[in-house]
Symmetry: C2
Subunit: 157 residues, 2 copies
DNA sequence: AGCAAATCGAGACAGAGTCTCATTATCAAA
DNA sequence: TTTGATAATGAGACTCTGTCTCGATTTGCT
């Protein structure tokens, strides 16, 4: 998988910063270049590690401060699998309507889209009196099974 | 909501311990009485707090050691919403096939069952090459909306 | 009662994330 | 281009959930 070209996303984020009168710093540049230079989902710690490869001076605090901005801008999707464990998806702007399956043991994430599922989720939530803000279907499977099946390859839906 | 009578569940767990040549200690008794004396979902920390009201000597370590036993016995359901944040459901033995909606802000949990949803989840997972071990649909809604609608009352499905 | 093994509590440790605070960098206006 | 208000920074203290170790205690079988 080649690194995607997300110059557009990067520029949108810079515009977003300007709009909010926030400053474009060298650390933020390193972080943003990292985020939009990968296809993979990542955690805050991973982002810190990767961003430091570009700019040694990036600190943990700055990563944690920049992530909410990226989320707020709509360019990155935050998946909250618990109170204190977030995973970020840099592909969000390209295809905002997908669900995720998380593999239990090897931590791989498989994306898929299903209108039927979306509709059913909305229908159920509505009946329960919720207005859905976001929804995450988490399906756990064991690595044993996944290995047999060729590393969680999305076979199309 | 009156405290449920789960004498049966408690006795099943004691039998489970005996089967595995594990010992019935006063601390475990306090923990088990607590677990099967509530209808509510709880976290490990909450369980620690509640169990200590029955027996001051219950330690954090013992709670964390007993929880996996309760899960293994099949009497309590562990919902893992992240790497390090688990919520436990003591009603599991009574109705094992339900899903959960988690409220974002007030942390309430609403249970529901939907065969249609179960079927669709299984179908999708199968197509993706997974054999489902467990699945959790997490739907987030804001407290604002929930308050308007009467505290997340399950309106029947 | 006696004993081996299971269990215990305390507290050190780990990982994710938040917060403070003194210092530095940005950028718009002069 | 200098200035200056203030946004942003890094370091590190701190919180919270959970794990692990270890010496002391309890259990339950004989």
């Amino acid at each position: 998988m080649p690194a995607p070209d997300r110059t557009a996303a990067k520029e949108k984020f810079m515009a977003f910063l300007e709009e909010k009168n926030l400053r474009i710093t060298t650390q933020r540049r390193a972080i943003v270049d990292t985020v939009f230079g990968t296809d993979q989902h990542f955690t805050a710690e991973q982002l810190l590690e990767w961003a430091r490869e570009r700019d040694e001076s990036v600190s943990r605090a700055t990563v944690y401060r920049t992530l909410p901005l990226l989320t707020e801008s709509g360019l990155v999707h935050e998946m909250d699998f618990g109170k204190d464990y977030k995973i970020y998806d840099p592909n969000y702007a390209d295809h905002p309507n997908h669900n995720h399956i998380i593999c239990d043991d090897c931590d791989k994430i498989v994306e898929f889209e299903s209108n039927k599922l979306d509709e059913l989720e909305n229908e159920i939530s509505h009946k329960l009196g919720f207005s859905v803000k976001s929804q995450q279907l988490r399906i756990n499977a064991s690595c044993e099974e996944m290995k047999k099946l060729g590393e969680c390859k999305n076979k199309g839906l």
